[in-house]
Symmetry: C2
Subunit: 279 residues, 2 copies
């Protein structure tokens, strides 16, 4: 299989590493608007060649679009305009806008919308690593829009990355993503800003940050170019979750303010139910 | 050195393990109101004996109070009423109320208020582990209230646990603790509640939770008996931080609501400064 990966960042680079290792890809062509990223990926051996978008499409059988969500809605229709029999997939954290821009395209059935739910707070090809996707969930969306060959190709792709496959509609995906991923990031960004604002003497934060703080703000290191478009694209769902989250915080605040320790205790016990959900 | 540890949970148990290993303690006496905790600690070898509070005090040279903050403010004055030359220290996450209840006690100079900033989201003696404190910060408070022997004993204690020692006043400690520890826990509890409320089908959360969500809600597994008193005791500081945190979230919300991607991008970039602070 000849695979083109467009976008050689954390996700694209990590996919390249594992597809080479598993033998799924006979050849990987890399495309990146950053010359530095491209050269790094080639030198380190993630990809066999760096090509232009146009050249890479004609040579490959599978095209993986691994760029931020705002770029993806622009580039995906362009790719569809150029393909013949190729299968295309993406890795975006939001699905609604992508679904919308391709809905009437004659090649729609060749694009499998996918969200491999893995990542770290780091970005760029230098952050790419082997086994990033191992055992994680990958959501395939709106498969009823696809032809069987496209679905089969993309299932094999993600099985090669050793992911657990799930299927749902784009709308359902975007709601769930707001709850289990997007709100975590906003929560963490806001926490970092709160603490940075207060603790002007940054050395002290470092001195005092125990494991707890560190894990809660880990996501606040995440890349602005990636996350800003996600928040815009999944706006409606995120605003709804944010409202609930702020309500929960206000409820905590009120309980603490009125010395209602019983209520605080009860809320913590309820929150503890997350233990049963996450191992 | 004969050491008494009152409270054989995660913190008390982990202290016992490391003090035995380092040879600092020749004998460790355990005190716990739960017979099960005590028997477990003795059987597994954390402690040499289980005694009553009264008996343990007369036999030991150093007493470590490792119970939740609400219990500590009651038990600490009782301990002071019974000691002769013994040195006493605690491990509480809030310092103001403890300082207050002992301020006029004739043995005040023998109590060194300390906060070893380490922990996990688990609790009980079965959660205790070796090396929990290794390299973490320990704050010693109000040392001007102490006699030199007491300070020396407690410094040696925490150096034996391989902690980095810092010194500050109780008031300053409680402000910093609100920022770098207490707010992280509230943020995490509220996030867990938000997601649990929405995702009634809990299996789906498990399927979808990627590394990000998992780390952000990790602290939501924390023990209600421990955290509810902390929020009450550090109420004023926590309410102030909560206000700032909710303002930050509302600011994010407004920027997303009005499609102000530039503002969102800028806020994320500012939050990213946490990278420089935490490695």
């Amino acid at each position: 299989m000849i695979v083109t990966i467009i976008g050689l960042g954390l996700i694209g680079g990590s996919i390249a590493i594992d597809l080479k290792k598993s033998g799924y890809a006979d050849k990987i062509i890399g495309v990146d608007h950053s010359q530095i990223n491209g050269e790094f990926a080639k030198q380190i051996g993630f990809v066999d060649e760096i090509q232009t978008l146009q050249d890479s499409i004609s040579e490959s059988q599978l095209i993986i679009l691994a760029i931020p969500a705002d770029g993806a809605v622009k580039v995906l229709p362009e790719i569809l305009n150029r393909i013949d029999e190729q299968v295309v997939t993406d890795v975006c954290s939001t699905k609604g806008p992508l679904k919308e821009v391709i809905k009437n395209h004659p090649k729609r059935d060749q694009v499998v919308l996918a969200h491999p739910m893995a990542g770290t707070e780091f970005s760029g090809p230098w952050a790419a690593k082997q086994g990033l996707f191992d055992g994680k969930a990958c959501i395939l969306c709106d498969l009823e829009e696809n032809n069987g060959d496209a679905v089969q190709t993309v299932i094999e792709l993600y099985e090669n990355l050793n992911m657990r496959l799930l299927e749902m509609g784009s709308e359902e995906h975007d709601v769930h993503a707001a709850y289990v991923s997007h709100i975590s990031h906003i929560s963490s960004f806001a926490l970092a800003l709160t603490v940075l604002e207060k603790e002007k003497d940054e050395k002290r934060i470092f001195d005092l940050a125990s494991g707890g703080f560190d894990s809660t703000v880990r996501l606040a290191k995440s890349n602005a170019d990636m996350w800003s478009p996600i928040f815009r694209q999944n706006k409606e769902n995120i605003l709804q979750v944010l409202d609930t989250y702020i309500e929960e915080l206000n409820d905590f605040k009120k309980a603490i303010e009125f010395d209602d320790s019983e209520r605080v205790h009860q809320k913590i016990k309820e929150a503890n139910r997350i233990k049963k959900v996450l191992s």
